[in-house]
């Protein structure tokens, strides 16, 4: 009976000791909360939809902020902390994909699309204006009575 009681007590005591030990591990270097926030805004909260670790109220995100803080306190640079997460979750964890390789398509595609659109519009506009100039140069045969009527109606309109 008393052994059972001791066993039950042992678990929370051990958990407490382990967490105290884990908390005591990093040296007491002051970590700026701004830096923690800056790293957290670049990481995707894994249990949310399109939310950063900085913005999510979930427990997972809160634990991830704790890990960011601990790694910064242990002397890692923000880029190293981000790389730690990328190594475990892949680039999926980054809210903005890195600008290299296949990802460049995301940045280049809109530019290419806009450039193509501009060329297309320029070509079409040039073709329209040329056609109109051609039209002025070559007068069309219109019945004189009809053109007289058009002239009168336009004067009445103004």
């Amino acid at each position: 009976m008393s052994r059972e009681w001791l066993r039950r007590l042992a678990a929370p005591v051990l958990v407490l000791l382990v967490s105290v030990a884990a908390g005591a591990q990093p040296p007491a270097a002051p970590v700026s909360e701004d830096t923690v926030h800056e790293v957290a805004t670049q990481l995707r909260c894994v249990v949310c939809q399109s939310l950063s670790v900085a913005d999510s109220p979930s427990e997972m995100a809160s634990q991830m902020r704790g890990i960011i803080r601990a790694r910064l306190a242990a002397g890692e640079r923000p880029a190293e902390v981000i790389q730690y997460f990328v190594d475990r979750y892949g680039e999926w964890i980054l809210l903005a994909p890195r600008r290299r390789g296949f990802n460049l398509l995301v940045w280049l595609f809109p530019l290419v699309a806009v450039a193509t659109g501009l060329v297309l519009v320029a070509t079409i506009v040039r073709r329209w204006t040329r056609r109109r100039r051609d039209g002025v140069a070559a007068p069309v045969n219109v019945d004189p009575a009809m053109s007289e009527r058009i002239r009168r109606e336009m004067e009445r309109g103004t």
Binding site: R7, A10, A11, P12, V13, L14, V15, V18, S19, A22, V46, V47, E59, M60, Q63, M64, G66, I67, F85, V86, D87, R88, Y89, G90, W92, L105, T116
Partner: protein, 178 residues
């Protein structure tokens, strides 16, 4: 000029369609883990009974690391009996099942272990460090570690008898070879 355009415009849709075909065929929930094939991250936790639980202690065995939570219903409730059954069937053959309880309360976790009569070691990850080390998105997720200590398979969702048997048999057979 106009004949060229007539061909160029439909042709321009080909790369766009190819990109869309690539994008829509991929399952957005199926996120490949960069950890498969890499050494399993070490951890040292305390089981819910208070005993130490370290991955290194089981080096040389096939280790099944299962991440779960008592609030993960129904998937974790479905797989708990499967894990217990499989653990009993394989424990004599160099296989260890290790449960890591994440984002949970100790009382709820202890009740879960008691309710399912789990006899394999289960530990809590109070800071979330082990979950992030393993790149865990949610629960349940299960990692099959070979005898060399490498993560070989990551299974997302409840483990079934078939998945357990097929994966562990494969790792055992391969480890038996010199």
């Amino acid at each position: 000029m106009s004949r060229l355009w007539r061909w160029l415009i439909p042709l321009a849709t080909v790369p766009v369609l190819a990109l869309l075909a690539y994008g829509f065929r991929a399952n957005p929930r199926d996120i490949p883990s960069p950890l498969v094939g890499r050494p399993a991250p070490r951890f040292a936790l305390a089981t819910l009974d208070g005993a130490p639980l370290a991955l290194e202690a089981h080096r040389g065995k096939v280790v099944v690391v299962n991440f779960w939570a008592s609030w993960c219903y129904p998937a974790c409730y479905e797989e708990a009996p499967v894990l217990e059954r499989s653990w009993r069937a394989y424990r004599g053959r160099g296989v260890v099942v290790v449960g890591v309880d994440i984002q949970d309360k100790p009382e709820a976790a202890q009740k879960f272990v008691r309710d399912f009569g789990l006899t394999f070691p289960n530990a809590q990850d109070p800071t979330g460090t082990v979950s992030v080390d393993y790149g865990v998105y949610g629960v349940p997720e299960t990692f099959f570690v070979d005898r060399q200590g490498r993560i070989r398979v990551k299974h997302v969702g409840a483990v079934t008898d078939d998945v357990f048997r097929e994966t562990v048999d494969r790792l055992l057979a391969e480890a038996a070879k010199p």
